[in-house]
Symmetry: C2
Subunit: 425 residues, 2 copies
């Protein structure tokens, strides 16, 4: 880190010793997993810097914004519309949920059979190691899966200013109207928080800002269709992860710069490796920072990941929001339309997701699909079985993985992944 941030972390109430340990592990993992890769695009230097300052400079920026009167909103899910947050003159950041922490304390509040993502949310809070969470003026939960919705009841006692949005379970007219009503309720809560009313102008500009960020990611994704792939899956995943908490305009520029570089690579048929590698599509649960276990194993086993059908990936970013509305309500409707399309496994039925996986497998010329399921994540683990069956009926090889954030199964995972990749050669 470029500065001594310890006083800042202490002010936020972090447990400095535990936080040092976390940063130490994170730094080593980043070195081993990311910096050791060959043929990385130069533009990844930006993300290396972002990651090296993930709890430093970015937090300082947020605290500077707070000092200037701006509010910080933290969230755990892609159903929280960044458009509304920006339009109310606040900043949205995704909250830490990609590593085990303070497990003993967590399991006093949550059943052991809870998915790693939810446990991590609690672990970062109870262990006092997430400066994003501690900086947030509002924390937004959503009634997506059973695990999250029930966990928020307990999280409500651990954080101030938790705002929980209700969610539909079916893509019906009633479901859509519930989502729109909840987005209106969220807008009011934001306006109360910031004292800034959302206007046609501010909402349109916010939509355009978020769309620009998405468009940059779309450009990056499109370049990954090239064979050989011009960027590793790990690096592309990192961009998708940083999407969730970087400054939007700066992020958009950084991704577009990488794309400029990758376009030259594609033109020269240059890839991340000279040899032809099996191409993998990863589909399933979100992969929050620093949950890099699966892509690391896949890419060290001689394959390249060409796409993520995931919240941290195309499920979260594929759709733009229509900015053409001429009233706040028209834009609220456009926002609802946009998020209602997200094909999360919490919806029943959820045929769009399978269609999207098949579409991505074709578009990215994937040789096989790895379905990534977090243990005890019922919605995705349940969908995985019919998804695998449907893919195999179309002769798309599929490997179903069920794992958590520990490294205990790394050896076993590696064996299974290697065998799967071997069969794709």
């Amino acid at each position: 880190m470029s500065e001594d941030y310890r006083p800042m972390w202490a002010d936020l109430g972090l447990d400095l010793k535990a936080h040092d340990a976390l940063l130490g592990v994170l730094g080593n993992a980043y070195q081993d997993i990311f910096l050791s890769q060959k043929e990385r695009p130069e533009g990844m230097g930006y993300f290396d810097f972002v990651m090296s300052e993930v709890h430093g400079l970015r937090i300082k920026e947020l605290l500077d914004e707070k000092a200037a009167g701006r509010k910080i909103v933290g969230c755990y899910c892609v159903f929280v519309p960044e458009e509304l947050v920006l339009a109310a003159n606040a900043t949205l950041v995704g909250l830490c949920a990609g590593a085990d922490f303070a497990t003993d304390a967590v399991e006093r509040l949550l059943p052991r059979n809870t998915c790693a993502l939810i446990k991590s949310t609690f672990g970062f809070k109870l262990g006092k190691v997430c400066p994003y969470l501690e900086s947030a003026d509002m924390v937004v939960g959503e009634n997506t899966c059973d695990g999250k919705k029930k966990a928020y009841e307990t999280l409500d006692h651990l954080v101030d200013n938790l705002f929980v949005m209700d969610m539909p379970q079916a893509k019906s007219a009633q479901g859509k109207s519930l989502l729109k009503a909840e987005y209106y309720r969220f807008k009011s809560a934001l306006e109360d928080l910031t004292g800034v009313a959302v206007t046609v102008q501010s909402l349109r500009q916010a939509i355009e800002t978020v769309n620009a960020k998405r468009a940059a990611i779309h450009r990056l994704s499109a370049l990954r269709k090239a064979d050989p792939a011009p960027i590793s899956g790990l690096d592309a995943l990192l961009a998708n992860q940083v999407f969730l908490y970087d400054n939007p305009a700066r992020f958009t520029d950084a991704v577009n710069k990488i794309c400029d570089e990758l376009e030259v690579r594609v033109e020269n048929k240059m890839g991340v490796s000279a040899a032809r590698k099996p191409r993998i599509l990863v589909s399933g649960c979100p992969q929050a920072v620093p949950n890099w276990k699966l892509p690391f194993i896949v890419e060290r086993s001689g394959a390249v990941i060409v796409g993520e059908e995931s919240c941290v990936g195309e499920r979260g970013t594929r759709n733009l929001t229509d900015a053409s509305g001429e009233s706040v309500d028209e834009m609220m409707e456009a926002i609802t339309d946009r998020y209602f399309k997200v094909d999360c496994a919490i919806f029943t039925p959820n045929p769009d997701r399978l269609a999207h996986i098949e579409e991505m497998a074709a578009a990215y010329k994937a040789d096989g699909v790895i379905h990534y399921g977090l243990q005890f994540c019922q919605p995705y683990l349940m969908e995985a079985i019919p998804v695998e069956k449907a893919l195999e009926e179309k002769n798309i090889p599929c490997l179903r993985i069920e794992t958590d954030y520990s490294n205990e199964d790394a050896g076993q995972l590696k064996t299974r992944v290697e065998a799967f990749i071997e069969q794709l050669r």
Copy 2:
């Protein structure tokens, strides 16, 4: 059984060999668990007969009803209003889900980490051993928990005529309006099935029929407040289980007859045992037939169960439906009001359930509460932790159990239950 039902079962497409094995196990379990009890009320003879004919005479009755043109509707949940089914001139039966069956086949369709209740639903279908399911003209699912809602997507390929009702997740105005709209959709589906329009008269009569059944169970419950308890928890649970698929009027009579007998016992201070026994309230997941493991262990360990805060128990039966409406819509509203009060853990937040547990613990003079959680049932396992904490803050001892339908943990459960009961003496 009093007749040879094998041709009937064969006609229903049951696997006769597997079904024989199931009935054999069931019969032995019933003998060991129920018939071996001492000081049983004579009125339990009715339920002994019902259970001995559970796949025999009751199925024959349903098939006779079908032959006479009446339709049979099967369901898995207390959110399915029997009032509507009866008003449309059909019969509602709860479907088998209390025992493991065909586990290998089930685990090809569902993740291993799925709760036993849902696996059992699939096992009875795949193993072809549930004559209720095979008799049903319509099977009703509901988007309650993640496990069920996603499992119905697969069940839809295994059964004909699956009707899935959407459910709210929060007790908001929007949630209630969704429930009412879904009940209207269900009413139309029933009317289409039976060709019988629901009228003010038929709906009022149906409400009264179901209320009478509930009132009989309330009378039975009230008698269990006496010390010593005049009936075992096992026998009372059995009545609550049979509630879900017996002929309503006959069931009401049978329960009232037991109550007449129990009133005399209470007057004479006669209990199921001479010695004073610790009184236990069981709270949590439903206990479907033949899932008698926990109450059997509790009562053989020297305690008596005095109440069930459960779908198969007071959560399912406590509220009556207002029959005073003067239009179908007024009664639909009353039905919605009644079911919207059910304090299932799928709702968030769900403070009414804790209040009800505390209320029951006081009313039934419980010495302690056993929270019964099915493994992988996220809503109840998540609620169990704050429930236990709240009870212990009020000095109500609480034991949290997490189990499934296997007998593998019976020894371990017995040890824990015995230790808990010991502490209550």
